[in-house]
């Protein structure tokens, strides 16, 4: 004979259904209904152990927007508390500002130094984006991500930067290489910035940044 031990099928094992059926006792409330009643009353009852893994589909209430005076003084570095709706435009502003800085960095006349400078600008941009989204920042990880993205998502971009940098050495092509380097650096920064914003908007962090899928 099979001695398999099975768990209870009834979720109200303490209820005496015999008395309920006979009309002597009241019908016990199902677990879900008890929870519902608690919510309606405003107090959330402690979830039973068995319901701990139930995913709630209700949206979390957004933080109330700050008063106008406070909003005016907000900078991107501190505005991550201002609510999810305002993060994306602030993030875009950060990206645009750093894209312009990168364009300026492209004008650095020293070969390879300008690439290092642009990388530093991008790292700073990611740092600010992390602060905006309230996420931890790890410089080494960001560097690896940037190298991974620039080297694979935009091979043309990196090669253009590299080529234009090398072109400084060639006499007579200075102005042209400056322009190309500047535009490519700006485009790289903007592209990386928007990709990271989309990544953070989905609730992810730098740790689970899928460089391969972004390529």
């Amino acid at each position: 004979m099979n001695k398999k031990k099975l768990p209870k099928v009834l979720r109200q094992p303490d209820a005496n259904f015999g008395e309920v059926v006979a009309g002597v006792a009241r019908w016990p409330e199902p677990v879900a209904r008890r929870a519902q009643a608690g919510e309606a009353a405003g107090a959330r009852p402690p979830a039973p152990q068995a319901m701990a893994n139930v995913i709630e589909m209700a949206l979390k209430p957004e933080a109330s927007p700050p008063p106008d005076a406070e909003r005016a003084s907000l900078t991107p570095a501190t505005s991550f508390d201002a609510g999810a709706a305002r993060r994306r435009p602030l993030g875009r502003a950060i990206v645009e500002r750093h894209a312009n800085l990168s364009a300026l960095g492209g004008f650095i006349l020293l070969p390879l130094v300008n690439v290092a400078g642009i990388t530093a600008i991008i790292v700073r941009m990611v740092k600010l984006l992390c602060r905006l989204y309230g996420l931890p920042f790890e410089r080494n990880r960001v560097r690896a991500i940037i190298i991974g993205m620039v080297g694979s998502t935009m091979p043309a971009g990196l090669s253009t930067v590299a080529t234009s940098t090398m072109a400084f050495i060639v006499p007579g092509s200075g102005l042209f290489s400056l322009a190309v380097s500047s535009v490519a650096a700006s485009a790289c920064t903007r592209s990386i910035g928007y990709t990271i914003i989309e990544h953070f908007e989905q609730g992810a962090t730098l740790k689970d940044f899928p460089v391969i899928s972004m390529r």
């Binding site: 398999k4 099975l6 099928v9 009834l10 005496n16 259904f17 309920v20 059926v21 019908w27 199902p30």
Partner: protein, 218 residues
Amino acid sequence: MTSSIITVATMKGGSGKSTLASCLAVHWHLGGRRATIIDTDPQRSIVRLAARERALGGVTVVEDATEEAWKAAKRHANGFGPVIIDTPGFRSQSTLACLFMTDFVLVPVKPSPFDVDRMVDTLNLLTNGVSGRRPLFRCVLTQTTRDSVIAKHVRAELTEAGFPVLKSEMTNRVIYAEAALWGATPSLIERTGAAARDIAAIADEVEDILNVSRAVVA
């Protein structure tokens, strides 16, 4: 049980309501009673079954998925045979109305936690939700695997908890689906087969309960 109204109800789909209703009706019909089925399910399972070749052996089928279905049941209960109401697998006004005026409710339940949960909900509705009226009811295990641990486990637990469960049960057999291809039930295809015996046992238990109930009232 000359013209009792029996409602087969549970708020869980796929529990075997239509199969149970049609099998009981055909069984009583073959026994010489004029059984009628009221199909209140918008899925029209029994109506579709009756449209096939064997047409449920000639059992009268009335299609009425409105809130007035109980009136049709009352009309046909004035005859000489039982009226069986097949209800939809969800909470509906037609089901509530039928539960209000029925003589007996059969609650089919498969031996699974999903079905048991919905059975409990249905019985809650039966005992609390129908205008204070408490109709006579029994649970019946359906689609069970013979001698399976889970079927025994569920039966034991329901009985222990105080739920009235019929001793007989509808064991899962391929003949139900095969018979349905002909618009029939096992009682029509194989009168002395195991499935037909299961149905007869359930029908006998229901009759006994109704007879005892009537004797008590008288």
